[in-house]
Amino acid sequence: MSRVYVAGVGATRINEHWDKSLRDLMVEASLKAINDAGLSRRDIEAIFVGNMSSGYLQGQEHLGSLLATWLGIPGVAASKVEAACASGGAAVHNAFLAVRSGVYDCVLVVGVEKLTDAVTSDATSALIMAEDQEYIAFTGFSFVALNALVYRAYMKKYRARQEEIASFAVHDHKYAVNNPLAQYPRPISLEEVMRSPVVADPVRLLESAPLGDGSAALVLCSENKLKELRDRDVLVELAGSSISTEIFSVHDRTDLTTIGASVKASRKAYAMAGVEPKDVDVVEVHDAFTVLGVIHLEDLGFAEKGAGWRLLSEGQLEKDGDVPTNTMGGLKAQGHPVGATGVYQIYDVVAQLRGEAGKNQVDGAEVGLAQNVGGVGGTVTVHILRRVR
């Protein structure tokens, strides 16, 4: 069993990339990551591609083999990994296992999604495939609508006001300003958020992650490979990696205000990395909708149940707060190219741990956590990274 290190990272900007295809995006991110590692393409022994909707939106499956050829390295091990919006995190977990097991020394993991090839209503159809097609999508639920129920349940149970929760979007945008990869690098006010159109009551447009395209990639390597990497002061280890699932459908659960898979996955990851929530210096949560950001912070152990929204108003999520969170813009402002998001989150944590976060830098960040969620919590992946040098 080997320790697993992040040898290199790369990502495209998240945007409506009219001029770049799905394969263009994943090649771009991959080359950046390989270059960042100081390796050559021929060093890659296995590829894991995380993606949710390429079949439905592009009519394209078999992305692993496709990317191997387009990177000029056909012959390597490759496959696509899918877990709805947690496809990126799930792909990283697979890559982690590949290196940890000792079978592979150098693995490329790429998350990619291209939602803008479709019109909004088709993209909406694609996203609801994360949930029960036969009994939930059939009744006309959209993905937003399911999250709206969670929002209602949370506000009711914990007597939280929507304004408090919606501030999460304001927070994300503030930090996206200094992130060259972000889809929306401009600040917004709470008033703008609360005046934006209602998408599914009570969720407002500016509380929802946007549709966009992007690809992010990591090169993970074993101890054996370290000596071949580019010289760097900093070395980041992927110290914890876990996946958990939850009762699939929201209406089959007993409490909509918590996501059991987050609790389970984070406990596993903490144990693996040998850390506790208080040791974590920087956090990326999967805030596809503002209320989820709040719930995730609670489930991951950073706040008591029902008190997550207070962290916002107390400024604890700021880069100099107790729980610096989504310090590169999060899903709302950096973007949420569904299958790629999990890898973008790790890209952001690595930037922080390397001290390369610029104006968003959390001083002395040593341990970071990235949480990626599929569906309304049907799958959660948690990754913990640690600066070891």
Binding site: T120, T139, A145, I247, H251
Partner: protein, 134 residues
């Protein structure tokens, strides 16, 4: 979108959808919809099919304003989780009601309605919606 054109899929699920057939776990007592062989709460395979009650209350609801493509012509509409008289939770659309008349706790009853069509030439998919109870 071939899954939307699939006739066998609709045919297979019709009885469960038309008659609201759920499952009741004989070990832990949980009721759930739709019927499946393994209880989602306790994992027991000791599950019996039950025809669920037709009355309940709105547990949670929202209004879909940006619908998936196959429902585009019907928006805006209300979707909800309904708690039936026996405690089983069921996802469904509400009908015969104005958007601003719906509230949590509203009593509702099951009705048999069209959910969607597989295009103008395709088959019609029917199911159970809920309307304000008499």
């Amino acid at each position: 979108m071939s899954y939307l054109r699939s006739v066998p899929r609709v045919w297979r699920e019709r009885r469960v959808k038309y008659q609201l057939i759920g499952g009741r776990c004989k070990d832990c007592g949980r009721g759930f919809y739709p019927y499946r062989q393994i209880c989602p709460a306790c994992g027991s395979a000791n599950v019996e099919q039950v025809k669920l009650p037709e009355r309940g209350v709105v547990e949670l609801f929202t209004v879909v304003r940006t619908p998936p493509a196959e429902f585009a012509q019907y928006a805006p509409y209300v979707v909800a989780i309904v708690r039936l008289e026996d405690g089983t939770l069921v996802p469904a659309q509400l009908t015969d009601v104005e958007l601003d008349e719906v509230y949590e706790g509203m009593e509702v009853e099951a009705v048999f309605r069209k959910y969607r069509e597989q295009g103008p030439s395709g088959i019609i998919e029917y199911g159970i919606k809920f309307r304000p109870a008499r």
